[in-house]
């Protein structure tokens, strides 16, 4: 009896598993949703539009229609964006990505700007220090102690200038 129940359950499972999966697969993913954006924005469309697969219009580009469908399929399988990314890199290489990887030689793309700014920042620091030092122990005579005085100074000189123009 027990066996029969098991077999019955098994049959029910076998019969319905397809429809369960079907329900899962049919889950609609909005092509403009944030979750789809996170995945699709990683990949460059190769139709010549210069856009990524999130932006590329499926009405004018067949390539992206299929690509989007594949992405949705993978998302439905439960793959996250990194796994999907790995999958495509294995097939097409890094060329398919919209931005370089953060490893290997491509890391230089990400790091170099900050290294250069950092290095230049240190250089600027030393230059300012040199210039300040050059001033040495001389008495620091600031023309204006604060912005207010500076503004007042400027206004005063402009008024004087104006008056001067009136009479000269």
């Amino acid at each position: 009896m027990k066996n029969k129940i098991y077999i019955g359950l098994l049959i029910i499972l076998v019969v319905f598993q397809g429809s369960f999966l079907h329900v899962e697969a049919a889950k609609q993913i909005d092509y403009k949703s944030a979750e789809f954006k996170a995945v699709a924005q990683q990949f460059a469309c190769t139709c010549g539009c210069g856009q990524d697969h999130y932006e590329c219009d499926p009405n004018t580009c067949n390539l992206t229609t299929e690509f989007k469908a594949d992405l949705v399929e993978m998302m439905n399988k439960g793959w996250d964006k990194d796994k999907i990314r790995e999958y495509y890199i294995n097939i097409y290489g890094e060329e398919i990505l919209t931005s370089p990887e953060k490893s290997g030689f491509s890391l230089t793309a990400w790091v170099l700007p900050f290294v250069v700014i950092g290095a230049a920042g240190i250089a600027v620091f030393f230059i300012i220090r040199k210039w300040v030092k050059k001033k040495g122990t001389e008495e620091d005579v600031a023309e204006y102690e604060s912005p207010e005085e500076e503004v007042e100074g400027e206004i005063l000189s402009s008024i004087i200038d104006e008056e001067r123009k009136k009479y000269l």
Binding site: S33, G50, K135, S146, P147, V151
Partner: protein, 660 residues
């Protein structure tokens, strides 16, 4: 007509070469007659380029399809305005426009009243003439605008529908005015170096021309962004495309120059740096053109690939090497006048950091733009460096820039003491932190947005304080009413307050960018006729789908009624246009705009049973971008306007030579 049009180019080339030679001869032999002859040549050159422009306008307007350019970029049914603007739709025409602006600027400088009798003029003219020779050479032998076809076609290929938009009428014009404009400060810099005379006069003239070029570059980029937003159906305005990068880089370096030149003015320092910035800005305009026209990089701004880029690269090389040679030969002269700083914390230091960040941002853009080429050369893989890269790399740099911009007005020249700092910064800093807390309480949770808006709050407060203090100080002395005091304060120091208005404009643009990048919502839905799409507070009812004919174009449109919180906003018509002479259809989007946000509706697709697919977006704070842009224009114009007070061109006191 064919002979006449081509004659304008080739005679132009001959005149340009003649003028350059005679001008150089005049300079070296100190013969005013020769220089005057060269100046005459400049007028003739402007006549030539104007006639070439008019010829092409005429050919385009009258649809003379026997000409390749007319055939490639227009068709007979095109509205006259777009027939005319097709002049800058292709390579040859846009270079002709460039040449025209170059000759126009050269003419304006060489015969300017203010520069009369100035010995710099022959040098500036000669440098600009060398540019003109290059451009006329390109027009004459590489990208010829007036080529006849073997057979006369009945119809032209038509203009890319994307370019049939008011934004496209003005975007290239302003951008080229900006590009060409940067040749002027370059010429001034070179002339000053050759004459060993980098003084106050040079600063004032160069700055004014740089602001003008900067303004046009800004306008060019803004119009480009605005066009992309309304025309491409993409909902964005900046894609970090190589061409956009090409115009953004000189914009950044020119901005850096406009700030660091103030240190030169006050302290007679950073001369070499400033001249380098001018050279780099100019070189970047040529480099950008090389990138765009050579086809080495994929870009949405599709110009036909040709060897044109190579010529620009060579010309850039020659110009940069020449400029560096002149710079090096005057190195000692420039170095001699190096000054010193009084303190670590001062306006001077903040300008240096500003320069570091601006040039750093330009370098990051440059590096990202050329990285595909570098990667291909190093390891044979041509990677794409797109939007995610630039957004991630540029955001922290530009945000730091905003912070410096916020802090700088409160720092004193020479030296800021700790006491001053505390006094000046305590209140703005507390207010900015309060604003950030308020944002978090009100539901703005994203770190970038909170930090960004916090920095902008600080900027707004410090700039307000600047105006407030100025007015207060003026009133203390003059007892004027606040508005009069504000007005007089501003017109008496146009540069400073113009600059502040520009800062405020940048703050508005940044607010728009942060809002639209972090809080946009989108959906793409297929709905049955009569059904609706809901997004945020909006409900979009899909009422009707129909088709109409406009000229040779077929237009499919949907009537949609938009409700916000149940209140009807109106009926709108997003369209899809199918062109009679163009393969790709385009989307005419419906935009319902408000200060808070834009609702952006695109008709994407439809089926026979009436079902239609719409892309609906809510783009927050888009109008802030356009308002900020407007403020930039106002600020820049205010700064360069020739007022009654100050800002007058100083008298030239440099080296005198016999020719002028």
């Amino acid at each position: 007509m064919y002979l006449f049009a081509n004659a304008t180019i080739y005679i132009g080339l001959a005149i340009a070469i003649y003028s350059l030679l005679i001008m150089t001869l005049g300079i070296s032999t100190k013969n005013q007659k020769f220089v005057n002859s060269g100046k005459g040549g400049l007028i003739a050159l402007l006549v030539c380029s104007s006639l070439a422009m008019l010829s092409l306008f005429y050919l385009l307007a009258t649809s003379q399809f026997q000409y390749e350019y007319v055939h490639d970029y227009t068709s007979s049914e095109l509205p006259i305005i777009y027939k005319l603007t097709a002049l800058w739709a292709g390579n040859a025409g846009s270079l002709l426009l460039w040449t025209f602006f170059l000759t126009l600027y050269t003419f304006m400088i060489a015969l300017s009243r203010k520069l009369k009798g100035n010995p710099m003029v022959p040098y500036i003219s000669a440098i600009l003439l060398a540019n003109a020779v290059f451009f006329f050479f390109i027009l004459g032998f590489v990208a010829k605008p007036f080529i006849l076809l073997d057979e006369i076609p009945i119809e032209g290929k038509g203009l890319n529908p994307m370019l049939q938009n008011p934004g496209m009428i003005i975007h290239p014009v302003t951008l080229y005015l900006g590009y060409v404009g940067l040749a002027i400060p370059f010429a001034f810099a070179m002339a000053a170096l050759i004459l060993k005379n980098v003084d106050d006069f040079w600063i004032k003239m160069t700055r004014r021309w740089t602001i003008i070029a900067w303004l046009f570059l800004s306008l060019g980029n803004i119009f480009g962004g605005q066009w992309a937003y309304v025309e491409l159906g993409w909902g964005g305005y900046w894609a970090w495309d190589p061409v956009e990068n090409a115009s953004f880089m000189p914009w950044l370096t020119a901005t850096a120059f406009l700030h660091s030149v103030m240190i030169q003015e006050r302290k007679n320092m950073l001369k070499i740096w400033n001249i380098s910035l001018i050279i780099v800005s100019y070189a970047l305009t040529l480099f950008g053109t090389f990138l765009v026209r050579s086809g080495v990089l994929t870009s949405v701004h599709a110009f036909a690939n040709s060897n044109l880029g190579l010529y620009f690269l060579i010309f850039m090389g020659v110009a940069v090497i020449g400029a560096l040679y002149v710079l090096m030969s005057r190195y000692n002269l420039l170095k001699r006048s190096a000054g010193e700083f009084n303190s670590f914390v001062s306006k001077e230091s903040s300008f240096l950091i500003n320069n570091l960040l601006l040039v750093g941002a330009a370098f990051a853009v440059f590096w990202g733009t050329i990285f595909p080429l570098v990667s291909e050369a190093v390891r044979g893989t041509k990677v794409t460096v797109g939007l995610p890269f630039f957004n991630k790399v540029e955001a922290p740099i530009l945000l730091s820039m905003m912070f410096i911009m916020a802090v700088c007005p409160l720092l004193a020249w020479q030296k800021s003491t700790v006491k001053n700092l505390r006094k000046n910064f305590m209140i703005p800093a507390i207010l900015a932190i309060l604003a950030m807390i308020l944002m978090v309480v009100l539901g703005i949770q994203k770190a970038w947005a909170v930090i960004g808006y916090g920095v902008i709050s600080l900027l707004l407060i410090t700039h307000f304080l600047e105006f407030y203090r100025g007015v207060k100080a003026r009133r203390k002395m003059t007892k004027e009413s606040p508005l009069v005091a504000l007005y007089r304060l501003m017109i008496r120091n146009r540069r400073r307050y113009g600059g502040y208005i520009v800062h405020l404009g940048i703050a508005f643009i940044t607010m728009g960018i942060i809002g639209s990048q972090n809080y946009d919502l989108q959906t793409m839905k297929t709905v049955d006729l009569g059904k609706s799409i809901e997004l945020k507070d909006y409900r979009i009812n899909y009422d009707r789908l129909d088709q109409k004919k406009e000229g040779i174009n077929d237009i499919v449109y949907a009537d949609v009624t938009v409700f916000k919180n149940g209140k009807k906003l109106g009926t709108y018509q997003p369209e899809k246009v199918f062109y009679g002479n163009w393969e790709q259809p385009s989307s005419e989007v419906a935009i319902i705009s408000s200060l808070k946000e834009d609702l952006y509706i695109v008709l994407s697709a439809w089926e026979d049973d009436g079902k239609a697919t719409f892309v609906v977006k809510v783009n927050p704070m888009m109008n802030w971008l356009w308002i900020g842009s407007f403020m930039i224009v106002i600020g820049a114009l205010f700064a360069v306007w020739n007022g009654k007070y100050g800002n007058v061109t100083p008298r030239y006191t440099g080296v005198r030579k016999e020719v002028s």
